[in-house]
Assembly symmetry: C2
Homo-oligomer: 451 residues x 2
């Protein structure tokens, strides 16, 4: 192939709008990146967040908001946790939501009997399988765990509702024990088996390996639950889907035990980068901000400043070189489109790192006429003030407007008798704002400052 | 091998304290998980955070705190960004810190000439190589980029200081172009080449592939820079180290453009789970909280509620089953040890999800004597009140103390004439606190309530 031919192919590839470098890996035959489901656990895992106390009304409001967002499943606290937990579970089951309702119980017949009477669409059963939990939590051996699991699963299935069996602390469990019990419950016919990174320390390639291995052992769906202690809960979820898991446990803002689990909003950010069409077809992303606000207020926390999507600066561009490119084409520094979430992009131009392209854009917004060179001059002034103190938009707008007034106003010569000359009103406002020391020195001095 | 033999091996494996399922993967021959370095960019990337305005004094305070923490490199804003940026860069170079000082410039000789005069130990050069940035940012072709890179690199090397060459938006750049330019600059003799996920959309397996491929092309160190738009910046950093990258760019709390980059604290959480000894040997983790507080105050944000390590609930355990196991052995639900960071663990027992093991622990803390059965009884009371409203520790302590007073006080019979009976003082406090309706009904009723 000639060099010309090579370049042509390369250019075509680069120009092809359908090739997404962040999309599903074509080598992952088992990938569910474009076929995933969400189990929303704000009302179960989220209730284990230190600050959470959900009244019945709050639970119902959250359940309705999750349903409107379009989550596939809503998971509720075990009905045996407390009397009110059971009543709330029953109340939410009666709402007639499109999302399926699950409750989450220990692998005990006592719990299962209560759970199936609440009206849920499915039961999520969990038992600790790691040596740590077997020693210090329930003290049971694998034989006992397997027998309990079979009894509970067959009972729940006999009631005609969905059943998931999950291990707990899966990544510290013996692999052979794990695969044994998963194969057993798969043969009985569970809807899903679950892997849980209960201590939040799994890493993505480890997740890929375990899910991939499990996928070769069971025929049912695989659900994954990742805690976020080491900040990998979103990445682990994505990698699990790549390996063939189908369902991911999330909560709004990730609230849960300790610092929580995979957050719904963060996972949406991750997934929309991979398959925008699929995500937009299933989930009402423009409801995300209100949903997060509802939950944040319920548990009395602020939305983190750096939250994906809804953090106050998630779509704010600051450095001059970034702003320049974003203005030319947002996809230069932004894969996620704020409009998909009902949000807006923001160019932060009021700072010393600003560039003249950002300022030129602001000049246009203000409906003023300045040449490129004039924009560069006024940008230099803005950067100079930005070196001295924190700027806000009004500061920048004042500098721009005053500069504009100055360059479009004839120069006024100072008069000789020492009286203050007539200064254009806008210009004096600039002088007061940026450097009050020079405000009485006349327009020719101001002009040299301005330029 | 007999089944007995198999079990014996399995038990030994499980009991082996040196086997860490979250440690470096022995199959990763090139892994730098136990040999990584940190380039701390709060004073460069962090200055691009929307809220950041660092005075000279603040920059110096942050640089000193980073140095005390033990970061390997401190990266500063380009000295051509503004006049004060240049002066601050020179001032920080004169502090005589142990951390090496870098500055970050565009791939221009104009910038390089200024940078080498500031006194820095090294210069980080960056240029956009993706079609997006070539079209909309600098408009240069790869030939021009390569020639500029060679000129700048040779100039910086001639001054005897370190040089890094990085592409920008590496994951949307043409792979062949990328490998070509990296090989070229490696041959000239750069200290490091950099990969940057500028738009924050790379995923871990994609990172592994690119770093692994690059590792086979260059002999110098590889540095990685990950934005966090899709919440994968920590996981991508870890996976890059697994693939053979050596240096990770971080900032305190992850502050930077949009919602920022890999956070220092989160990366420490990730790395200590993998190789605690290495992390503790290099970094003063107990200084993390103060460092984060310093930066958070400087940029006027709150530390996110769910921040790794320092979020208010990072070491708080709530659900009954979690609390029970944590009390028996913290490693059941906690791999990260709060004491490594100068922090403390907290069992959240004042809620309806609490369990009797957590309450028994609180009874012990209060230096009271109750049997297991009595602890279960008082736990049922606490869960009942927790169903009605949000509890605080005082509520729980009151219930426990009153219950204790009650079970250790002889029952007082109500007198027949209708006057209020003598009620033990502590018990009436309970009645007032939890159920004022029953406060006038005498002790026998209260007793039945209590039980």
């Amino acid at each position: 192939m000639s060099i010309d031919g090579f370049f042509k192919v390369s250019e075509e590839y680069a120009a092809n709008p359908t090739s997404n470098p962040y999309g599903p890996n074509p080598a992952d035959y088992l990938s569910n990146v474009s076929n995933f489901q969400i189990i929303e656990s704000t009302l179960r895992e989220g209730e284990q967040f230190a600050n959470a106390f959900f009244s019945t009304e709050t639970k119902i409001a959250i359940a309705k908001a999750l349903d409107e967002f379009g989550v596939d499943y809503i998971e509720l606290t075990s009905p045996v946790a407390s009397e009110q937990s059971r009543k709330d579970c029953e109340a939410i089951c009666k709402l007639g939501l499109k999302s399926k309702i699950l409750t989450h119980i220990r692998c005990h017949m006592d719990d299962a009997r209560v759970a199936v009477e609440t009206g849920v669409d499915g039961v999520d059963v969990v038992i600790g399988t790691s040596q740590f939990l077997r020693d210090y939590s329930h003290g049971k051996d694998m034989m006992y765990i397997t027998q309990s699991a079979i009894e509970v699963i067959e009972y729940v299935k006999s009631k005609g509702i969905e059943i998931r069996f999950s291990s707990e602390d899966s990544f510290r469990s013996d692999l052979v024990d794990l695969l044994n019990i998963y194969r057993t419950v798969d043969k009985i016919g569970v809807n899903r088996v679950g892997i849980a990174d209960t201590v939040g320390c799994a890493n993505p390639r480890q997740v890929y390996e375990l899910v991939n291995t499990l996928k070769s052992v069971v025929s049912c769906d695989i659900e994954c639950h990742f805690h976020n202690d080491t900040g990998c809960a979103i990445a682990n979820a994505y990698t699990a889907l790549e390996a063939g898991a189908r369902l991911i446990d999330v909560s709004v803002l990730g609230i849960g035990e300790r610092n929580g689990i995979t957050p719904l909003g963060g996972l949406m950010a991750r997934m929309i980068a991979a398959d925008r069409d699929y995500v937009l077809s299933k989930y009402k992303l423009h409801k995300l901000r209100d949903l997060e606000t509802l939950v944040a207020e319920s548990v009395r926390v602020n939305i983190p400043f750096n939250n994906p999507i809804t953090g106050f600066c998630a779509f704010t561009h600051k450095a001059g070189v970034h702003a320049k490119s974003i203005l030319a084409d947002p996809s230069t520094y932004e894969i996620l489109s704020p409009s998909d979430f009902g949000l807006t992009r923001y160019i932060h131009f009021a700072n010393r790192l600003t560039g003249w392209n950002a300022i030129k854009s602001r000049v246009d917004q203000l409906n003023l006429q300045l040449s490129d060179q004039q924009c560069q001059e006024v940008t230099a002034k803005i950067k100079k003030l930005g070196d001295v103190r924190r700027l806000n938009i009004d500061d920048v707008d004042s500098i721009i407007k005053d500069f504009h007034a100055y360059v479009t106003t004839p120069v006024v010569r100072p008069i000789a008798n020492g009286h203050a000359p007539r200064i254009p009103r806008n210009l004096s406002r600039l002088d007061n704002g940026s450097s009050s020391r020079s405000s009485s020195k006349g327009s020719s001095h101001s002009k040299s400052k301005l330029r």
